[in-house]
Amino acid sequence: MSAESSVAPLELERHRPYLLRFALLQLRERGAAEDAVQDALLAAIQGAAGFAGQSSVRTWLIGILKHKIIDSIRKTSREQPIDSRIEIEGAEDLEAFFADDGHFGEAPAEWASPERSLEERRFFEALERCLQSLPNNTARAFTMRELMGLETEEICKELRISTSNCWVMLYRARMSLRACLERIWFMAGPAKAG
């Protein structure tokens, strides 16, 4: 009956842990992430015949999952619009990165072979830890931009914040993440290899 389907449900199921990590990084809430993954896998099983085989199964699944994650974000922001004033007040901590004359308090250091980090699973765990240390909505805006690949206008619309607030949040996320990765990964010395 599903002879024309090019991907078996069991083969899809194998990707569940991978999809869950992706959804969790964006949604930051286990229940919501599990729901999004479940919806994505169901949609994939129903549409398995539509898999053209031009990309990997995983890439295809991530594409479906992104839609389910956006649905989930929309639902949440309808139910509880964020108070951007609170987030923006927090932007004061950007000052902490700079001296009074506008120079970096602590200048960004040279990172040793960052590309090689992308081959290491532990690097991504460090990235997760750094993202978890960000304020909720700052992390949310940042992952919508960089993980989900949405444009700023879409992010402003979904989170119901102004473009300039959005830019401040992304700037702050980049400042914090850069400093955090430098501290716990790139400058962490032998401990990171352990």
Partner: protein
């Protein structure tokens, strides 16, 4: 904003430039600053690296998941 940027202004523009096209004046000021500032040169490549890292997320498989 004058032609002479502080690192604080420059880093904000570097981030904003990843979201929308900066004005001509901003681009010129930023280029002048980055040319003489190692900190902001590194900042630029590091935030671009952050973008690649998120695109590669969740990264390599757990060996036991394969």
């Amino acid at each position: 904003m004058g032609l002479r940027l502080s690192c604080k202004e420059a880093s904000r523009l570097i981030s904003q430039g990843m979201e929308s096209r900066l004005s001509l004046g901003e681009r010129i000021a930023l280029r002048l600053h980055v040319r003489i500032c190692d900190a902001c040169t590194r900042f630029t490549s590091q935030v671009k690296f952050l973008r690649r890292a998120l695109q590669a997320y969740p990264g390599p498989d757990d060996p036991e998941e394969r």
